[in-house]
């Protein structure tokens, strides 16, 4: 499966990888997309800081599963 970034169209192999890409880029256009879905970029980052296990990525990945273009 390939997941397309809704902002820059970068292709990732999983929703988790795509979440890592979006948080990792962290520029205005990627942050704006997250805001447009009713979430805050900073909240995902804070989740990441606070615990092991990549919770910030996991939460965003769940959103991306539903919101992005997926190809087999």
């Amino acid at each position: 499966m390939s997941y397309h970034c809704p902002v820059c169209n970068k292709v990732s192999s999983s929703a988790m990888d795509l979440a890592r890409h979006m948080i990792g880029r962290g520029d205005k256009v990627h942050r704006d997309w997250i805001s447009s879905k009713g979430f805050k970029y900073s909240e995902f980052l804070t989740l990441q800081f606070k615990s092991f296990g990549g919770e910030g990525y996991k939460t965003l990945a769940k959103i991306l599963e539903k919101e992005t273009k997926v190809e087999d």
Binding site: R20, I23, G24, G26, D27, K28, R31, Y41, S42, L45, T46, Q48, F49, F52, G53, G54
Partner: protein
């Protein structure tokens, strides 16, 4: 008997006579006709808006020739991370806002330093103070002041590395531990402070003599910041008194001297004071580590998860690289089947944190090697054994990151094991701690976005057989001029004194990325070897014809003798062949060219060195004070080009890395560094130096010139961890935040005593 004539010999540095006689010229020594002296006015506030700068009084002072501020610049922002514009965040001369105590706001050129200094007092800067944040753990909170516009939570860079299934692997572990560590800052303390002499002429060409680790980077960055063509900027590196990672970014001395010189068409010299060196240049990145480590009962490590937040300071510099490398080297030198790293770099209103010798690896090694000892103790396994069980081996693939070709880690463990046994039973309060490490031989990622090869060299053979070697490599005291001359001499089959090296002058040398990431021996060494081989090939073509052998023999040159490989007695003098070749080619000079850029070598580096260090300490339990008794290192760096060079690197590294573990720190109050002088900044001095010993381990690196790889920065990685482990062995207290000062040891001893009671 060695198959090499030059390599492996104990030779003195090619620049040694100049240095020991005091005749070597450093940037500080350069005086040009009509030269002016510059000084830089710096912000006294950690975070403030610049409302107005009035330079009129300073300009009226007799002897002042020019004053420049951010308004005299093109308003560009720069960084060596040119590939990512969002990381180019430093103007150098601030136009609207200052972000740390020491940020430059104006510069003056005058007839002498005193006048320039006096003029600084006459510049009136009106600031509007802004709330500031100094601690990265505070900077990442929602309510923290924003240091750069649009950077949420002040997170400047994030880095993620992962392989395997970490969450699942932790479920399979018999034992898991979580620990937290704090790694402090460190100043580079180069003997020569940052300095530059810039001369812009009426021909619109700019020449800069400067103390730098990369002439090419400075050329390209200055050209961009001042709107010049790269070819109109010539950067010359005279002898340089140390860099250690602090001198491959464009600095305030280089930029301000150039700007002033352009304004005046007169040479301008700026030498940073020792106080400026401590407060207004970059420093080692402080890091907050959280690490989760899981293993089976037998000590097999199954999973590791690392979370790091770094104190970035006001600007990016090379901090993005340090953030990645600390994550990568957190997995070193072990075979973790499952690994996850998340790193976050936070802007703070403190002096920018960036590259320093080891580039993030001394921090990760301190953390990793402390924790593995804790794990070993918990599981009842010997510290050497647990490292043997999990240590990297040759031809190991770090998933998605790196391919390790040569690796002598296990031989190093054997040597250190023997060393510990030889030391025998130790007296009370004395302990030996070990620390294993690895490091890269130059970096692969092209963050500077250069179109050039990473290293290049030109070899020119003169009619008398003397060889001119042109290279962009920067000898900053580490000895690369000697190493590269030896490689050139070996490949060409001549003597070391046949080589004359011309280095780090962008006007005559090919571009080279410079001296950082322990890259010169492998990367520039390959380029030099290729250039020498190219020149040799041209000589051998003539020699083959002249010898008139009736069958085709392989030919070579060794010890100035051009000969058939299988019949070495049949040959000709190198000097005769040089003359014949030049005459036979209508007088055309013999020129060999070489270049090197690593391809398909993973994400990090084409090769890695490995080693194990044992530090022995003796602790005074009354005061917490401890003494470094002995530091013994088994280091493998492939073929050793110059054993004297490695010994020098080791001794310097023990002094520097020992200081990181033992005493060096930069305490701050509201962003102000409190110890900005050699008197107050605690270094390991000659009398504090322990006995040091290097144990040789032979390996051969297929990617390196004659099998060589790095022997510079890697040696700074293990010492802090080894000291921490030694203190624990000696008196049973574990210190998780650097430096491990006597105060911390004493406090821990008291707590231990209270708990026992």
């Amino acid at each position: 008997m060695s198959k090499y004539s030059v390599i492996g010999k104990r030779v003195h540095r090619v620049d040694g006579p100049e240095k020991v006689t005091g005749s070597a010229k450093y940037t500080f020594d350069i005086v040009l006709h009509n030269m002016l002296y510059g000084k830089i006015l710096r912000s006294p506030y950690p975070h403030a808006r610049i409302v107005n700068i009035d330079t009129s009084q300073a300009e009226r002072l007799i002897g002042v020739k020019a004053v420049v501020t951010g308004k005299d610049t093109l308003g560009r922002k720069q960084s060596t991370w040119r590939r990512f514009p969002e990381l180019c965040d430093e103007e150098i001369l601030c136009r609207t806002k200052v972000r740390y105590i020491g940020d430059p706001v104006a510069a003056v050129a005058a007839i002498d330093e005193d006048t320039a200094e006096e003029a600084l007092d006459l510049i009136e800067v009106e600031y509007e103070l802004l709330p500031a944040v100094f601690d990265p753990m505070e900077a990442i909170k929602e309510e923290a002041p924003q240091i750069h516009e649009g950077v949420e939570l002040n997170i400047n860079v994030t880095r993620h590395i992962e392989w395997g299934d970490v969450d699942e692997a932790f479920k399979q572990c018999d034992y898991i531990r979580e620990d937290h560590f704090k790694c402090s800052s460190q100043a580079h303390v180069c003997m020569e402070t940052h300095c530059a002499v810039a001369s812009f002429g009426y021909d619109s060409k700019l020449t800069i003599w400067t103390s730098t680790q990369s002439s090419y980077y400075i050329q390209a960055l200055v050209a961009d910041m001042l709107g010049l063509r790269e070819g109109d900027v010539r950067v010359i590196k005279p002898h340089t008194g140390g860099g250690f990672g602090s001198k491959f970014e464009l600095d305030s001395a280089q930029f301000c001297a150039s700007l002033l010189s352009m304004k005046l068409c007169q040479p301008v010299k700026i030498v940073l004071s020792r106080e400026e060196e401590f407060t207004a240049t970059k420093r080692r990145t402080p890091m907050y580590y959280s690490v989760k480590l899981g293993a089976k009962k037998d000590g097999t490590m199954l999973a590791k998860e690392v979370r790091v937040i770094t104190e970035g300071g006001a600007y990016t510099g090379m901090g993005a690289t340090a953030l990645y490398l600390t994550g990568f080297f957190s997995s070193f030198p072990y075979k973790y089947p499952n690994y996850r790293y998340d790193g976050y770099r936070a802007y703070t209103n403190t002096a920018p944190a960036s590259a320093m010798r080891g580039f993030g690896a001394p921090q990760s090694t301190f953390v990793g090697e402390s924790q593995i000892d804790m794990l070993a103790e918990d599981l009842g396994i010997d510290p050497i054994e647990i490292r043997r069980k999990n240590g990297m081996t040759p031809d190991y693939e770090v998933p998605g990151q790196a391919h390790i070709q040569s690796c002598g880690l296990h031989q190093c463990l054997d040597k250190i094991d023997e060393h510990i046994k030889e030391r025998g039973e130790l007296p009370p309060n004395r302990g030996i701690g070990v620390s294993a490490y690895g490091f890269m031989s130059g970096g692969i990622f092209n963050w500077f976005d250069t179109p050039y090869a990473f290293s290049a060299a030109i070899v020119r053979i003169n009619i008398d057989g003397k060889v001119d070697l042109f290279t962009g490599a920067c000898d900053i005291g580490q000895g690369s001029d000697t190493t590269l001359s030896m490689i050139c001499a070996e490949e060409l089959g001549v003597h070391l004194d046949d080589i004359r090296i011309h280095a780090a002058d962008t006007g005559i040398c090919p571009a080279d990325l410079g001296a950082w990431g322990s890259r010169e021996t492998l990367m520039n060494g390959n380029a030099v070897k290729m250039a020498a081989a190219d020149a040799k090939r041209q000589l051998l073509e003539f020699a083959a014809a002249k010898l008139g052998a009736n069958i085709v023999y392989d030919m070579d040159i060794k010890d100035q003798w051009v000969h058939m490989v299988d019949r070495p007695e049949r040959g000709l003098s190198y000097f005769d062949i040089v003359k014949d070749t030049i005459r036979g080619r209508d007088g055309e000079t013999i020129i060999g060219r070489g270049h090197y850029t690593p391809h398909r070598k993973g994400m990090i580096s084409p090769a890695y060195s490995f080693g194990v260090q044992a530090a022995e300490v003796e602790v005074d339990t009354e005061t917490g004070k401890y003494k470094l008794i002995n530091v013994t290192t088994a280091h493998e760096s492939g073929t050793v080009i110059n054993p004297v060079g490695i010994e020098g690197q080791l001794e310097g590294a023990v002094m520097m890395a020992g200081g990181y573990g033992f005493c060096e720190d930069q305490p701050m109050d509201e962003g102000k560094i409190l110890n900005p002088s050699i008197a107050d900044y605690k270094l390991i001095r000659s009398l504090d130096m322990p006995e040091t010993k290097i144990l040789e381990v032979d390996t051969y690196e297929p990617e390196g010139p004659f099998g060589a790889k790095e022997a510079g920065e890697g040696l700074t990685n293990p010492t802090a961890g080894a000291i921490g482990n030694a203190v624990y062995k000696a008196v049973g207290v574990r210190i998780n935040d650097l430096p491990i000062t006597p105060e911390k040891v004493l406090k821990a001893l008291k707590e231990k005593k209270q708990q026992a009671e």
